[in-house]
Symmetry: C2
Amino acid sequence: MTITPPKDINIVPFVNVDNMMKLILDVGIENFLRELAGFVEDDFRRWELFDKAARVASHSTEGVIELMPTSDGDVYGFKYVNGHPKNTREGLQTVTGFGVLSRVDTGYPVLFSEMTILTALRTAATSAVVAKYLAPKDAGCMAIIGNGAQSEFQAMAFKALLGVDKLRLFDIDPEATEKCSRNLAGKGFDIVCCTSAEEAVEGAEIITTVTADKQCATILTDNMVGAGVHINAVGGDCPGKTELHRDILLRSDIFVEYPPQTRIEGEIQQLAADHPVTEIWQVISGAADGRRDARQVTLFDSVGFATEDFSALRYVRSKLPGTPYFDNLDMLADPDDPRDLFGMVLRAAKAA
Amino acid sequence: MTITPPKDINIVPFVNVDNMMKLILDVGIENFLRELAGFVEDDFRRWELFDKAARVASHSTEGVIELMPTSDGDVYGFKYVNGHPKNTREGLQTVTGFGVLSRVDTGYPVLFSEMTILTALRTAATSAVVAKYLAPKDAGCMAIIGNGAQSEFQAMAFKALLGVDKLRLFDIDPEATEKCSRNLAGKGFDIVCCTSAEEAVEGAEIITTVTADKQCATILTDNMVGAGVHINAVGGDCPGKTELHRDILLRSDIFVEYPPQTRIEGEIQQLAADHPVTEIWQVISGAADGRRDARQVTLFDSVGFATEDFSALRYVRSKLPGTPYFDNLDMLADPDDPRDLFGMVLRAAKAA
């Protein structure tokens, strides 16, 4: 028995994992990525409006738990996300998450959502949005080095937004490549499974690195990166976790989300703190150049920023009305008289 | 139809408002406060273990939304809480909240709970724990100035932990006092409703101030505070929101939770940044003196700290096994092969 029927204001729509999958399938993965990318791009365009801060991280020997808040003055959002590279060895996800949107004027939450799947989609959508501005014109071939949980989402987003239809896959674990290739079969790609990173980058106009080990690795060495390539560096995203040889960084034009965060977490943690970088919102809003010429090496040093999660939650919220893809959670106590919280508990005792 | 039955690891117990009330009533409010206070006190005792930071606040003209994370190295917790003093005018709560506990080793959440009611209880329990060390010996009479949502919880906690059984209530709104008095009827108190703050403090050994207006107010002036009194200052808890005249602070021994936060948010925002204060964990752990003599004015400048929410969540988690007071939320995507998140979505499509 429910002892106090909740009022509408207390009720927060919750999108669980099952409903998130149903929503994605209903919208269609490519369409979902395209629409989500639109929200990400819109929010980069109004970047200056946002209340921005580097994420709040709690580090342990096994991984990190982070809170990523932001606000556009009207809506507040945050994501909880963990990063535990050793989790996969125990059958768990490296990254899981959930997020909340709230009204700034009342502080009341209006959406609670799983964000393990949604983060995978927003990361891929963000990479593709950025690549629209940085990748060589009409790029059709992408190498994906690291074929784990994020790889297929990257492939689908680059197909949906840029028309990439040739993939060259490599992972140090051939089973991961096989899994990625199998999952993408029938999705309109010409897929080559490679036995080395060197082989994977041959002929690729875009190189996506998305490996998971928490270490300073060298997935790409300088000689592997030809003129004109766009590097979408997704896997190097926390202190002590990088993927690219420093020499690549020195000859690339580097684009980042939020410099105070990227300098700590991104590939550029290998460089001097004042090494020049361009903020991607400036490119998207037209204030700075993206790709200027065909021989330039561009690098998106992606670490993931709170506004992208905000965009993703905002997108999901926009899709829910009229669908059955959410549950109503009785999350907020709201007595008839707001000063009478104790009385609400007392009356619950009488009702029970 | 559920397209992918979730595995246990994905499932997070959720305590909604209704279940929180049922749990409290099942345990009994006084017993709940006493047990909760034990968890708060234990965590103050192991204060040095905790990963501590001032809360992460997003301020707006209407209020504030805050995230309060902490970790003891084993368990991580955070609370989302808003503070919107004008909310009551719209029939909403000034403060609402929810919280999460997670495993540090995997980053996976293990509890999600409403914290509007729980925050009210933990705030009161913390005040009473602190008063055990600071209030005059055998104090039996407490003035409560500000008779809003927190007032009854304070009364019950001081009764449960210190045996306070005489209350002197005052609020600028007599209806609030009437509500507080009515809610506490039959709970074992001798209650006097007063028409001024001056009248309320007469004979009180403990003065609790718990008003809600967001301004630098002067609920207590210096002449109202006699020798030997313990002041439990709960309402002054954010920048620009104080309750006590500065002169009171200058003649009190001031005890705080976490100085970097209290200097910004507490009564001591009125004082120099190096004004001496004692951290309450040091008193509780025996490293510093609490009350030393009968004429000393002690002041607990309470703003609420993340460890207290952590203690409260930890307590609630300890009470759930074997009860029906939670729902299972499918919060975390967890494919059979952790690298196969995309495949999980694909298989959901087939299942649907």
